[in-house]
Amino acid sequence: MTTTHGTLGGKLALAAWLFVHPIAAGADSLEMPTGDVVLSVTGNIAAMNDGDAAVFDEAMLRALGETSFETTTIWTEGVQTFTGVSLKDLLDELGVEAGTLEARALNDYAVEIPVSDAVEGGPIVAYARNGKSMSIRDKGPLWIVYPFDSNDAYASETIYSRSIWQLDRIDVQN
């Protein structure tokens, strides 16, 4: 698994900013998406760019860092390489530290994911499978995937149910 974070300077700047403005609001903290919006995050978040929501296009997500791992899933055939932003990085970006994520998919599937799932080596919000962007037909554009093969604890129905594909919305709840 390889993880590539944003520049150290950026992170430090963000941390400093968070320190000075603990409950900051305002769209100017996040870039504005330039492409199609693939994910919108609402609820108890610290960073927003579209009213009280944080919206991301694929480029913005890619800019948050890239984490890859290989795993099999019960929904696919053979070993897959998933690439995306780790849930932890995403939530860090949004200043989310606790609570529950209510994730929703295009097909109206919804599931609650505790923020505590977002750990190093934990789930990612995948935007590519086997090196290619995922279309809706292909469970895209976003798919929260856990590294099932590298941690047996993830082989449970609860985790399977949290592996939401065709993700497009997240509402952060306390």
Binding site: I74, W75, E77, L106, N107, R137
Partner: protein, 849 residues
């Protein structure tokens, strides 16, 4: 012990195995349960029901979106495209996901899926086309959608049925696993229960065992403490580890003071310390134990006050917790040792006293016999003088009493000789028939007088010559036959000989049977004891010292045989003698038995005794018989001539003064008649040892004279048919009467004679020292006189007549207060006499020994 240990090991092993098995099963089952739980937990089953129902929902969404656009409810074709993509994605999931692998194998599901995928393949180009094209094709798409409505439904229905079935199966498996788990759990519980039971039992056994050990150890402690023997235990270095109450008492140490100290230092006497230390050192080096386990030993031990006392001790080794220990049991045997010593002293004194008594008896008997012989000789001389009838009768009574006394004394001498161990048996080749014939012949006259007939015979084949001492055997048989004659009137006396021969040995039984008065049953065993003289006792052989059968018993025992009697009172008695005998070697058998004497070998002689005095005749006859000779008797000169005419004799012994025809006249007749005994040596047996008489006898044709009383040596010389000496009278005034010394030797046996002589010699030398030492004149003359008197008596016993005479003169001189010079002369004489006497006596007594 080894087997027990082996059993324990096996049992422990079994328990350990069971426990290990239980643990293994538990671990396995735990693992299995975890695996199953894990399986349930990780069951790769998403919410399949939701997914399957979602197929239908998403199909309907697509259908709705399409229809909505057609009727104008919506105007965004992308909505249709998105719903299509979602449905497409759903079908893709069902077609590819591992989760649905099993489901895809269901024919109904597969068929439905294939139909739907067929639709998707047709629809994709339409959906991906431009908006106008899509719009144009929407009606067709809607129709196409209708074609998969039923398959979509079937798809989800088949899926639901499949997963329901799968769930059932999994539940069944889970139930099976749980049941299995329950069974195995029960089994494990049972095993645990069993192990618990075994452990409980083991524990109980251990508790019992430890209680038993505790009990036995307490009991042992009690035993050790209450033991009367001292018990001292030491470890392998010799340090005391136990010291019981008896040990405290015996050694005078307190346990607390000695535990931990070196045993050698505490109880081993200083004199034995080196040996003890060396023994302990040797044990430590080599493990060699010389004392432990060797049973009882008598040693010495040391008390606290340093005194040493005898102990009886036994040491055993045992295994202690710190290696080998030694346990010593010690008993103070001071008293026992003292008692034993007293006992030994008492016994030594008793033995010495007994010996002294026996010697005294022997000497007294001997001393009594010597004058008695003189008395009897003189009596027989008196008988030959002219006497009135009553005087003759008195003399006869005197003679009978004297002979009886002599026979008693001889008996006593035999007994003492036997007791002193002087009775030696010298076996010589012996013809048993001849011995018995002689005995029977000797008793025939007495038997006739009592009206008895007497005869003897062999039962079965006679034995050839055997090795025994004929004189002693004859003495035994004369005793038995004499008894039979004495206690039988007008009856029959039979002597039977039986031989049980095997090879060169034979067991000979001689039976002496009579039909006389018999013996009361209660007296039979007592008869063979000394002095067993009841009023009518059979034991009073030879007119009854009461020693007759006692002597016979001793002689039989000396010959290695047995003697016994059976009797019915009033019907008669049977005496038996059983002797184990060896046959004489063939080369010796032609040589007939002879008595073992110092004198030249004398073959058995045929002897004719002519003697009117019955007692004299019997004495002479017994003497001859006991020396192994054959005797024929005649009671006067005429009868003697008759007997001499009938057979040839080797020698004829005749009395001189006899009624009818005297000895000299009879000799003359025998010499003149040309009978078988014309040239047979004839000896006079007489006390008339006067030179004139001797001349008369020679003229009558006699070869010599045997002086009365007859002694054996003289008789032997005569029977040897050597040139006879002129009759010898007692030579008074000679220095040593060697005959007396020799008689003493024969009577008391060489051992006693040597002892007596030793005493006599040291007494003699002691008194001579007294007499010759310068201080003599200051010594108490009465004391010296007493000593001289005593020594003179002893000297007479040994025939040292000259010495005795000198001593008596000194005694007389001292007592009468003679001048010193005269006594001095006597002393010189005595010294000279002793100097000459001593070698002669030593030669006789010591070389004879």
């Amino acid at each position: 012990m080894g087997r027990l240990r082996h059993k324990h090991v096996l049992r422990n092993l079994a328990i350990a195995s069971a426990a290990a098995l239980g643990v293994a099963v538990a671990v396995f089952l735990g693992g299995e349960v975890l695996r199953k739980l894990n399986l349930l937990e990780t069951a790769a089953s998403d919410n399949v029901q939701w997914t399957l129902s979602q197929v239908e929902v998403e199909f309907l969404d697509l259908d709705l979106a399409t229809k909505s656009y057609v009727i104008g409810d919506i105007d965004d074709l992308n909505v249709i495209r998105r719903e299509f993509d979602i449905f497409y994605s759903r079908i893709g999931t069902l077609s590819e996901g591992d989760l649905y692998l099993g489901l895809r194998n269901e024919p109904a599901f597969a068929e439905a899926l294939a139909t739907i995928r067929g639709f998707l393949n047709v629809a994709v180009p339409i959906i991906d086309s431009s908006d106008p094209e899509l719009e144009g094709n929407l009606a067709a798409l809607s129709l196409e959608l209708e074609t998969i409505r039923v398959p979509v439904r079937e798809l989800s229905a088949a899926g639901l049925a499949y997963f329901a079935e799968q769930a059932d199966m999994r539940r069944g498996e889970t139930a099976d696993t749980l049941a299995y788990l329950a069974v195995v759990t029960l089994a494990v519980l049972a095993l645990l229960a069993f192990v618990s039971f075994v452990l409980f039992r083991l524990n109980r056994i251990n508790v019992q065992r430890s209680e038993a050990i505790e009990l036995s150890s307490r009991r042992m402690a009690t035993i050790v403490q209450s033991s009367l023997d001292a018990i001292v235990a030491v470890d392998r270095t010799g340090k005391i580890i136990e010291f019981n109450a008896a040990a405290e008492e015996i050694f005078g140490h307190r346990k607390a003071d000695v535990v931990g100290r070196d045993m050698g230092e505490v109880i081993v006497p200083d004199a034995l310390r080196d040996g003890h230390d060396a023994g302990m050192a040797r044990y430590r080096e080599t493990g060699e134990k010389r004392v432990a386990g060797r049973g009882r030993m008598n040693l010495e031990a040391k008390r606290a006050d340093g005194s040493v006392f005898p102990v009886e001790m036994s040491i055993q080794s045992a295994e202690g917790s710190d290696g080998e220990i030694f346990v010593g049991f010690l008993r103070d045997i001071s008293r026992r040792v003292a008692a034993e010593r007293e006992l030994v002293d008492a016994r030594d004194k008793a033995v010495a006293g007994e010996k002294a008594k026996s010697e005294f008896l022997a000497v007294m008997s001997h001393e009594m016999r010597t004058p008695l012989n003189g008395l009897l000789g003189t009596l027989s001389l008196l008988k030959d003088t002219r006497l009135t009838a009553s005087q003759a009768s008195y003399v006869e009574n005197l003679q009978i009493s004297g002979d009886l006394l002599l026979s008693h004394i001889n008996d006593v001498l035999d007994v003492t000789k036997y007791e002193a161990g002087a009775l030696k048996i010298n076996p010589v080749p012996t013809d048993l028939s001849a011995v018995v014939q002689n005995v029977v012949d000797s008793q025939r006259d007495l038997a006739s007088e009592a009206g008895d007939t007497i005869q003897w015979h062999w039962v079965g084949d006679p034995l050839p010559d055997v090795m025994t001492e004929p004189m002693r055997l004859g003495q035994i048989l004369i005793n038995l036959v004499g008894n039979a004659v004495k206690f039988t009137q007008n009856g029959r006396i039979t002597v039977e000989l039986l031989a049980d021969r095997s090879g060169d040995a034979a067991e000979v039984t001689i039976l002496v049977q009579d039909d006389g008065i018999g013996i009361p049953a209660g007296d039979i065993d007592r008869m063979f004891e000394d002095f067993a003289t009841g009023d009518s006792s059979y034991g009073r052989a030879r007119d009854g010292t009461g020693l007759g059968l006692g002597i016979a018993r001793r002689l039989v025992t000396a010959l290695g045989g047995e003697i016994g009697a059976e009797s019915t009172e009033g019907e008669g008695s049977t005496f038996w003698v059983r002797l184990p005998l060896e046959l004489a070697p063939p080369q010796d058998r032609d040589r007939l038995a002879s008595p073992p004497v110092a004198e030249p070998h004398i073959p058995p002689r045929d002897v004719l005794i002519i003697e009117d005095n019955e007692i004299n005749r019997i004495v002479l006859r017994d003497m001859l018989l006991s020396e192994g000779h054959r005797v024929t008797e005649a009671s006067d000169g005429l009868e003697g001539i008759d007997r001499a005419a009938q057979k040839r004799f080797d020698i004829i012994l005749t009395d001189i003064s006899m009624p009818v025809l005297d000895g000299a006249a009879a000799t003359k007749v025998i010499r003149e008649k040309s009978g078988p005994n014309q040239s047979t040596p004839i000896f006079a047996v007489t006390a008339h040892a006067l030179p004139g008489e001797i001349e008369r006898f020679s003229e009558a044709g006699m070869n010599g004279v045997l002086a009365k009383p007859i002694d054996r040596a003289q008789l032997r010389r005569t029977l040897a048919l050597e040139d006879s000496e002129p009759p010898r009278t007692a030579r008074t005034g000679s220095l040593v009467d060697t005959r007396r010394a020799a008689d003493l030797l024969a009577d008391v046996g060489p051992e006693t004679a040597a002892t007596l002589y030793g005493k006599f010699r040291s007494e003699a030398e002691s008194i001579l020292d007294h007499l010759t030492e310068p201080g003599t004149k200051d010594a108490d003359p009465t004391h010296i006189a007493d000593m001289a008197h005593k020594l003179a008596g002893s000297a007479a016993v040994f025939g040292a007549d000259g010495f005795a005479k000198g001593l008596r003169e000194i005694e007389d001189g001292l007592r009468s207060g003679s001048p010193h010079g005269k006594i001095q002369g006597g002393i010189t004489t005595v010294c000279e006499a002793w100097a000459r006497t001593e070698p002669i006596l030593s030669k006789i007594i010591l070389e004879g020994a």
